[in-house]
C-alpha cells in the first residue's frame, strides 16, 4: 500500500481534556467540536458505543457519566473533562459475561445487536441508581433506547430478571 499524507486538512485549535474512561485516566487534546461519542469511538478506539441518530433520540450511544446514563452524541468531548466515563467495554472485561449479558443471552435479548450496548448501559445505570423499580418503571426507563429487531419483549425479560423485577405474564 503506497504511503499517503494528509496535506490540506483544516487545522483547528484543540483543547486539553483529562477524564477517566473505563477506570483509566486519559489526558488528551481534542477539537472542541468533537462529540463525546466520536471521541470515544475514534479517539480512544472504543467502538462498542454506537451511533444511530446523533440527536439524542435512539439511545445507541448511551454511556455512563459519573454513573448516570448519558447520550454521548449530545455531549462534546471537552465536557467529559473532569468526569468519569464508563462504556460497554468496561462491563465484562474478562472472559466471563456480566450477569445482565448472561440474561440477554439466556433470553435471546438481542438480534442485530447494534442497540445492545446502549440497553446494557441504561440498565446498569438503573441498577446502580438503587431506585425501586417495577415493570412499568423499567419499561419507561428503557423507552429511550430504540430497537428495530427484537420487538423488545426479550430485552425487557432479560433486564427484569437482572434487576429482580417481577414481569407480568404476557
Amino acid at each position: 500500500m503506497p504511503r499517503v499524507t494528509d496535506a490540506g486538512a483544516q487545522m483547528t485549535p484543540t483543547v486539553g481534556i483529562r477524564c477517566v474512561v473505563n477506570g483509566k485516566t486519559i489526558e488528551d487534546s481534542v477539537e472542541p467540536r468533537t462529540s463525546l461519542v466520536d471521541y470515544l469511538r475514534h479517539g480512544v478506539g472504543l467502538t462498542g458505543t454506537h451511533v444511530g441518530c446523533e440527536q439524542g433520540v435512539c439511545g445507541m450511544c448511551t454511556v455512563l457519566v459519573d454513573g448516570v446514563a448519558a447520550k454521548s452524541c449530545l455531549m462534546l468531548a471537552p465536557q467529559a473533562d473532569g468526569h468519569e466515563i464508563r462504556t460497554i467495554e468496561s462491563v465484562a472485561p474478562g472472559e466471563e459475561l456480566h450477569p445482565l449479558q448472561e440474561a440477554l443471552r439466556d433470553h435471546h435479548g438481542l438480534q442485530c445487536g447494534y442497540c445492545t450496548p446502549g440497553f446494557v448501559m441504561t440498565a446498569l445505570a438503573l441498577k446502580d441508581s438503587g431506585a425501586a423499580c417495577d415493570e412499568a418503571t423499567l419499561r419507561a426507563e428503557l423507552s429511550g433506547n430504540l430497537c428495530r429487531c427484537t420487538g423488545y419483549q426479550n430485552i425487557v425479560t432479560a433486564v427484569a430478571e437482572f434487576l429482580g423485577v417481577e414481569e407480568h405474564p404476557a
Binding site: H50, G113, Q153
Partner: protein
C-alpha cells in the same frame, strides 16, 4: 441453543460495517438535490475543488452509466435531471468530515424546477409530467417470470397481471359483493446502523468494498456491471450488519458514489456513511399502495371471485419495485381458494424516493386491503369473520390463484393458533365510559425469491473444528446460530467447534442474498449438501485408517465409532492426522438451486404451478380499545403466529415472530413518512415514531410447525410474514369495536376520530 453472536454483541466487541477503518481513509459525502423534480442547469464544483483537504469531486458527468436491479433507469448521480429531493447530485472525498461537509456546501447547483409528481393521482393524470420520457429505451435485466416493459407516454414502469377464470360472470351472479379502496403509507426501515461503505481501488486487485449489506455477491455483480469490469475485479467483504429488513441491498446511492470516489482517489480508501437524515431522505423503504379490491361470495360464504387493482407509488426509479409489485400481486387476494381472480397492479414513477424491498415485500399493504375487506364481507353475510376464513382457506391439495397445487399449507394452523389464544379469555370491559373493545384477525401467505442458486463450503480441520464458509449475512435474523446448528448436527461435531466465516466474495461461495426469509431453507440445504460431502470423505478415510467397513462406522460427537468395537473409535482429528500422516482438511462444496422446480410465471396471466420455492404463512389477532369520543386507539393484546415448518432454533424463531409483530404494530399505529409535494416532512426519529418499550401491548407469539418436504429437516423461513398480518388484524379489531372500518394507515387517533364522526353523520342523515 443460545445465539452464537451474543457475547460479541453484548460486550461491544462485535465489528459492524460502521467500525471498519483503514489508514489514510478519506471521508466521502454526497450532496442531496433538495428539490423533488428539476432540470439541472449547471453544477459549479469550483468552490469545493478549491477547498484545501478536498481530494475529489464527482458529478453525474463523471460516469453517466445507469444501474438498477431490474431496469437500468437510475444514474449514480443525477445527470441532467433530478427526480427526487434526496437524490445525489454531486459527491466529494476529503481528508475529514468537516472538510467534506464544507465542500458539499460549496457546490452550487442551478435548477429549473419542474412540476412535481407526488401522488399516484399526479402520476396517472392525463397531463402528468413524465419522469422517464424514454423509459422504454432503458436496459432491462433478465428476470425469470417477469416482463418489465415501461408503458410509453405514461409513468407506468411495470404492470402486473393475474387472470384466472371469469370474474365478470362471477361478480354478476354472486350473493354478496363488496368493493372498497384502501391505502397504505411509506414506512422507513429504521435499522439503527446506517448504510456504510468503505471502498478502495487498487490498480492491480481492483475494487474492494467493506460494507453492511445483505447480499455481498449480488452487490459485487451489480457493481462490476455498473463499472464495466469483470466480477472478479470487485470484492465485497461484510461484517455484522446492524439491521437491514430488506435494505442495504443493490447499488442505490451509496455504493456507486463510494466506488466512483474510490476510483478517483485510488489507492486511498474512502468511507461513505449515511447519517439519519440521509436514511430518511435518500434510502429506500416500504412502498405505499392504493388498493381497490372487490370480493364476491355465495350464500354459504364461499369466495367466488376476487379482483384487485393496485397503484404503487414507486418513486423516482424502479429499483426492486416490479418484484414487490409482482410478488405481492399474486398473493393480494389472500391464502384462499378463489376460482375467479383478476389482479392489475401498476408501478408508478413519482418524485419521491424509490421505495424497495422491505420485510414481507408488499404483503402487509395487500393484507391491509384484502383481509379487512373479508371482515366487511362477513358482516354483510352475518357470519363470524373467522368462520368465513375457515370456509375458504387453502388446504392441502387446493389450487392457488396462480394454479399451484398447494402442499404443507400453514395458513389454517396459524389462523387457528391465533384464534385459540385471542379468544382464550373474554375481553376486559373498556376502561373509559366512551371506550369500546373489539377483536380481529388476519392471515397471510408470502412467497420467497425464486429461482435462486446457493453455494456453501464446509471444511473439517485437523483439530476437529469446522469452518462454515457461506455468504450468509448475520443482520440479526439468527442466521449464524441456525446454520451453525445445522452443520454441527450434520457433521456430528459440538456446536462450539463450528466457526462461521464472515461473508467475503473472494472466500465464500455464491449466494444471491440473505433476504426473503430464504437463508435457513436455501443455505441450510446447501450446507447439508456440503456437509454430506465431508461426511462421505471422512467415512472413507476412517474406513482406511480404522480398517473397518464404512457401513460399520458411525459419526457421533466428533468421533468415528466402529459399531460393535468401541475400542477402535477415533476422533476426527486422529482420522485426519493418521490418514495424511500429519495435518490436513476435508472440504465439501454444496449447493441448492431452485431453477428446476420453478415454473416461470406467465406474464399475461401469472399462471405458474410453482412460483415460489416455499411459502410462508402467518396470522395475527388483536384486541383493541377505541375511545369513541377522542378516536384514541390502544392495542391491548397482539397474538401472532408464524409457521416455521420445523423450528431449527425455537427461541430464535420466536424472536422473529415478536420482532415482526412489533414492526407491524409500528406500521399500524404510528409510522409514516409524510410527504408534501415530494418533500419529506419528518426525517428524524423525533417526528417519525417507531415503537418503544412503552408502546407494546400484551404479546403472545407462537411458532406453528407444518413441515416443508424440501426444507432442511422440514424448516422454512419465518422472518417476514408476521409483519404482514398485524396491521390488518388491528384494523379488523377497530372495525369490530366501532363498526367503522379504517381504510388508511397508520391508525392515528385523529383519523379514527374523523371516521367515527363521519359515520355518525351518515347515520344521522339517513
Amino acid at each position: 441453543m443460545r445465539r452464537v453472536d451474543t457475547p460479541g454483541k453484548a460486550t461491544g466487541a462485535a465489528e459492524y460495517g460502521v467500525d471498519h477503518r483503514l489508514p489514510g481513509m478519506l471521508v466521502g459525502k454526497f450532496k442531496r438535490a433538495g428539490v423533488p423534480h428539476a432540470r439541472i442547469e449547471n453544477i459549479d464544483t469550483s468552490g469545493a475543488l478549491a477547498l484545501p483537504g478536498v481530494r475529489a469531486v464527482i458529478t453525474g458527468a463523471d460516469w453517466p452509466r445507469h444501474h438498477g436491479p431490474l431496469l437500468r433507469d437510475q444514474p449514480a448521480l443525477a445527470t441532467d435531471r433530478v427526480r427526487w429531493a434526496g437524490e445525489a447530485v454531486a459527491a466529494v472525498a476529503a481528508v475529514d468530515e468537516e472538510t467534506a461537509i464544507e465542500a458539499i456546501d460549496r457546490i452550487e447547483v442551478e435548477y429549473e424546477d419542474l412540476p412535481v409528481v407526488d401522488t399516484v393521482d399526479d402520476a396517472l393524470a392525463d397531463d402528468a409530467p413524465l419522469l422517464h420520457p424514454d423509459a422504454e429505451l432503458y436496459d432491462v435485466a433478465d428476470t425469470p417470470g417477469m416482463r418489465i416493459q415501461p408503458e410509453p407516454g405514461t409513468n407506468i414502469a411495470y404492470h402486473f397481471k393475474l387472470r384466472r377464470g371469469d370474474v365478470d360472470v362471477a361478480f354478476a351472479t354472486a350473493h354478496v359483493t363488496v368493493e372498497d379502496t384502501y391505502e397504505t403509507q411509506f414506512v422507513q426501515y429504521c435499522h439503527l446502523e446506517p448504510h456504510v461503505v468503505v471502498a478502495q481501488m487498487d490498480p492491480r486487485d481492483g475494487l474492494t468494498l467493506w460494507t453492511s449489506t445483505m447480499g455481498p455477491h449480488t452487490l459485487r455483480n451489480m457493481l462490476a456491471d455498473f463499472l464495466d469490469v469483470p466480477a472478479s475485479n470487485v470484492r465485497v467483504i461484510t461484517s455484522y450488519v446492524g439491521g437491514a429488513y430488506g435494505s442495504k441491498m443493490y447499488l442505490r446511492i451509496i455504493n456507486p458514489v463510494a466506488a466512483l470516489l474510490a476510483k478517483k482517489v485510488a489507492p486511498r480508501p474512502v468511507r461513505v456513511c449515511f447519517d439519519r437524515e440521509d436514511e430518511f431522505l435518500s434510502a429506500a423503504g416500504r412502498l405505499p399502495a392504493r388498493v381497490t379490491i372487490k370480493t364476491a361470495v355465495d350464500r354459504e360464504g364461499r369466495l367466488v371471485a376476487r379482483q384487485s387493482e393496485v397503484f404503487w407509488n414507486k418513486g423516482a426509479y424502479l429499483d426492486l419495485g416490479a418484484m414487490v409489485v409482482r410478488n405481492s400481486g399474486y398473493v393480494s387476494l389472500g391464502p384462499y381458494r378463489i376460482p375467479n381472480a383478476r389482479v392489475d397492479a401498476y408501478c408508478l414513477y413519482t418524485n419521491r424516493q424509490p421505495g424497495g424491498a422491505f420485510r414481507a415485500l408488499g404483503v402487509p399493504q395487500m393484507a391491509w386491503a384484502g383481509e379487512q375487506q373479508l371482515d366487511r364481507v362477513a358482516r354483510e353475510l352475518g357470519m363470524d369473520p373467522l368462520e368465513l376464513r375457515r370456509r375458504n382457506i387453502l388446504q392441502e391439495g387446493d389450487e392457488s390463484v396462480t394454479g399451484e397445487v398447494m402442499s404443507a399449507v400453514g395458513a389454517g394452523p396459524c389462523l387457528e393458533a391465533v384464534a385459540e389464544q385471542l379468544h382464550a379469555m373474554p375481553a376486559e370491559p373498556p376502561e373509559t365510559a366512551s371506550g369500546v373493545v373489539g377483536r380481529g384477525a388476519a392471515v397471510v401467505l408470502k412467497s420467497t425469491l425464486t429461482p435462486t442458486a446457493t453455494f456453501a463450503s464446509v471444511k473439517l480441520n485437523h483439530d476437529g473444528s469446522v469452518d462454515l464458509i457461506a455468504a450468509a449475512v448475520e443482520h440479526g435474523q439468527g442466521t449464524m446460530t441456525a446454520l451453525t446448528q445445522i452443520v454441527a448436527d450434520e457433521l456430528q461435531v459440538p456446536f462450539e467447534r463450528v466457526r462461521f466465516v464472515m461473508p467475503d466474495t473472494s472466500v465464500t461461495p455464491f449466494d444471491r442474498s440473505s433476504s426473503s426469509s430464504r437463508t435457513v431453507f436455501t443455505m441450510g440445504n446447501a450446507l447439508c449438501d456440503a456437509s454430506r460431502e465431508v461426511r462421505t470423505r471422512l467415512l472413507e478415510m476412517a474406513s482406511s485408517v480404522l480398517d473397518a467397513e464404512i457401513q460399520d462406522l458411525e459419526l457421533r460427537d466428533g468421533e468415528v465409532l466402529v459399531r460393535d468395537d468401541p475400542s477402535r473409535s477415533a476422533t476426527y482429528e486422529q482420522i485426519i492426522r493418521r490418514y495424511y500422516k500429519g495435518p490436513g482438511n476435508i472440504g465439501g462444496l454444496g449447493s441448492f438451486a431452485t431453477q428446476s422446480i420453478y415454473d416461470p410465471m406467465d406474464p399475461e396471466t401469472a399462471y405458474s404451478t410453482r412460483p415460489s420455492t416455499f411459502w410462508m404463512y402467518a396470522a395475527a389477532g388483536a384486541e383493541v380499545e377505541v375511545d369513541r369520543e377522542t378516536g384514541e386507539c390502544r392495542v391491548r393484546r397482539l397474538v401472532t403466529a408464524v409457521d416455521a415448518g420445523k423450528a431449527v432454533n425455537p427461541l430464535g424463531c420466536l424472536q422473529q415472530v415478536t420482532g415482526s409483530a412489533v414492526m407491524g404494530l409500528g406500521m399500524a399505529m404510528s409510522e409514516e413518512l409524510v410527504f408534501e409535494e415530494g418533500r419529506v416532512m419528518n426525517p428524524t426519529f423525533l417526528d417519525y415514531k417507531i415503537p418503544t418499550t412503552v408502546d407494546l401491548p400484551q404479546m403472545t407469539d407462537i411458532v406453528v410447525e407444518t413441515p416443508h418436504p424440501d426444507g432442511p429437516s422440514g424448516a422454512r423461513g419465518v422472518g417476514e410474514p408476521g409483519v404482514a398480518a398485524v396491521p390488518a388484524a388491528i384494523g379488523n379489531a377497530v372495525f369490530d369495536a366501532t363498526g367503522v372500518q379504517m381504510t388508511s394507515l397508520p391508525l392515528r387517533s385523529e383519523k379514527i376520530y374523523w371516521s367515527l364522526r363521519a359515520a355518525e353523520k351518515a347515520e344521522g342523515g339517513s
